[in-house]
C-alpha cells in the first residue's frame, strides 16, 4: 500500500521534471528564432525589474545593517572591530546578496507569474492564444525568462550596493568605525573570484525562478482554487530550488575559480 503510494509519487515527480525540462528547451528554441516579441520583453523587464526594486532595496539595506550589528559584536571579542567592512562585503557579495534577492524574487515574481499564467489557463486564454495562431511559449514564457535572466543579476548588484551602504551607516553610527576604515576594509575583503561568483550565480537563479513560475502556472488546473494552489507551489518550489541550486553552483564555482 505505502509502496504503491511512493511509486506514484516518484512517477509524478519525474513527470513534472520532464515537463519542466521540456518547457526550458522549448523556451530556449523559441528565444533564438522568429517571431521575437521585443515589446513584451521590455514590458516584463519593467514589471520584473523595476517592480521588484523597492523590495530588493529594503532587503539589501537591512541585511547589510544587521550584518554590521552582529559582526560588530563578534569582532569586538577579538578587538577586530575595524574589519567589519571586510565581513560585510564578503558575505553580502558572495552569498547573501544573490540568495536573498533570489528569494525575494521567488516570492514576488515567481508567484506573480504563476498566478497570471494560471488564471490565463483556467479562463482558456492560453487556448485562445493557440487558437489565434500564437505560441504561448514564445509570447509569454520567453519574455519573462529573458527579463528574469537579465534583471536578477542587476537587482543583485543593487542589493549588494545598498547592503554595503546599510553596513556603513551602522558602522559609522553604532560601531564608531570611521568611513575611510570601513570602505578600505570593504575593498580589502573582496577578491575578484568573489565578485565573479556574485555575478554569475544570479543569472542561474533568475532563470530558475521564472521558469518554475511559468511551468507551474501553465500546468494549473481546477479553476480559481487551482490558481491559488499554483501560486503557493511556485513560491515554495522556487525558493527551495534557489537554495539547492545556490549550493551546487557555489561548489562548482569554487572548484573552477579558486
Amino acid at each position: 500500500m505505502s509502496g504503491n503510494w511512493a511509486v506514484e509519487f516518484v512517477k509524478k515527480a519525474l513527470l513534472e521534471v520532464q515537463e519542466y525540462v521540456r518547457l526550458c528547451f522549448a523556451a530556449g528554441r523559441a528565444a533564438v528564432s522568429r517571431p521575437f516579441y521585443f515589446r513584451d520583453v521590455m514590458e516584463q523587464i519593467d514589471i520584473i525589474g523595476l517592480g521588484s526594486l523597492t523590495v530588493v532595496l529594503l532587503t539589501g539595506f537591512f541585511t547589510g545593517a544587521v550584518l554590521a550589528l552582529q559582526s560588530g559584536m563578534t569582532l569586538d571579542q577579538f578587538g577586530a572591530r575595524p574589519f567589519v567592512g571586510r565581513l560585510i562585503s564578503a558575505s553580502m557579495i558572495k552569498e547573501l546578496g544573490p540568495v536573498l534577492t533570489a528569494l525575494m524574487l521567488s516570492g514576488r515574481v515567481g508567484s506573480g507569474i504563476a498566478a497570471e499564467l494560471g488564471s490565463m489557463v483556467v479562463t482558456e486564454q492560453i487556448s485562445a492564444l493557440r487558437a489565434l495562431g500564437t505560441d504561448p511559449v514564445r509570447k509569454l514564457v520567453v519574455p519573462r525568462v529573458l527579463a528574469g535572466f537579465i534583471m536578477c543579476p542587476i537587482l543583485t548588484v543593487v542589493a549588494n550596493a545598498v547592503g554595503l551602504l546599510g553596513g556603513w551607516i551602522i558602522a559609522l553610527t553604532q560601531l564608531r568605525v570611521a568611513s575611510g576604515v570601513y570602505w578600505s576594509s570593504v575593498v580589502e575583503g573582496l577578491y575578484i573570484q568573489d565578485v565573479w561568483m556574485g555575478i554569475i550565480k544570479p543569472f542561474f537563479l533568475g532563470f530558475v525562478i521564472v521558469t518554475i513560475g511559468c511551468h507551474v502556472g501553465l500546468r494549473t488546473s481546477g479553476g480559481t482554487q487551482g490558481v491559488g494552489r499554483a501560486t503557493t507551489n511556485a513560491v515554495v518550489a522556487s525558493s527551495v530550488v534557489v537554495l539547492i541550486v545556490d549550493f551546487f553552483l557555489t561548489r562548482f564555482l569554487i572548484s573552477i575559480l579558486f
Binding site: 517571431p35 479562463t123 482558456e124 486564454q125 487556448s127 485562445a128 487558437a131 489565434l132 495562431g133
Partner: protein, 281 residues
Amino acid sequence: MATRDVTAGPPAELVEAHAPVALFDRVTLAFDEKVILRDVTFDVRFGHTKIFLGASGAGKSTILKLMLGLLKPDSGTIWVLGQRVDTMTEAQLMRVREHMGMVFQEGALFDSLTVGENVGFKLYEDSDLSLSEVRERVEEVLGFVSLAEHIDKLPSALSGGQRRRVAIARAMITRPKVLLYDEPTTGLDPMTCLSVDTEIVKLRDLQQVTSVLVTHQLRDAFYIASHEARRNGREVELVEASEQKVEEADFVMIREGRVAFEGSAWELRHSKDAYLQTFLS
C-alpha cells in the same frame, strides 16, 4: 514581422467544392481513466451549420478543441479543411488554424488588452497591414457586432453579452472559413441571445462561414437553423429560412461521449427517443 497576409483566402486546395470542411472518424478520447468521447463520427459540410446539443459535461467543448487541434484524440482520425490535424505538430496546426476561428465558452478575452487589441490580436501579431489599417479593420468588425464605441475599453468594463460579441469579433476578423462557437448564448438574457444568434446567422449567410455551434439552449439552436440573413440594399434583414437552408443545419446530440442522434431540426422535433424528448421539453 511575418510576410503573410492572413486576411487573404485559404490556398485553393483547401476549399475544393463540397469536400467536408471537417470530418471526425471514430474519435475516442479519455482523460486519465475517464472516457470523454467514444467512437464519435460526423462530418461538417461547407456552408452548413452543425449544432451540437447535450447536457453539460457530455463532451461538446472537447469536440471543438479536437477540431482546432488544441487536444489530440487517443484514437480515430480528424480532418479539417482537407488536412489531417490529429497527427500534426503545433507548428503545422498554426497553418490550419489561420482559416478557423473559435469563440470560447466564457469568451476567453485577454484581460490585459483592450477590446480593440483583443479583436485585432491576429492582425497585430501577424500581418502586413499598418497599424492604422488594422485599427480600421478592427473598427469595421466591431461595428458588425455593434460595439464600435467600446474599442478602447478593457474587457472587464463590458457586460457578459458584450464580451461574448467581442469574442465573436475577434474570431471573425481574419475572415475564417470555419467558425466554432462554444455556448455563445449561455447565461445571457433573451434579448442579448437574439443579437448573438443574429450575428451567427449573418456571418454564415453573408460571408459563407461554415458554422459549428455548441449549445444546450434549444431555442437558440432552432432560431439559427430556421432563419436566414439577406442583404436588402444597405440593410441586412433576417427572414424565415428557405427549405434548403433549413436542411443545411444538422443537429447532433452528444450523450455521455457518444453521438445519440444526428439529423435535421424536423427529425429532432419528431424523434420518439425518450432521452431526446426529455431534453427537448
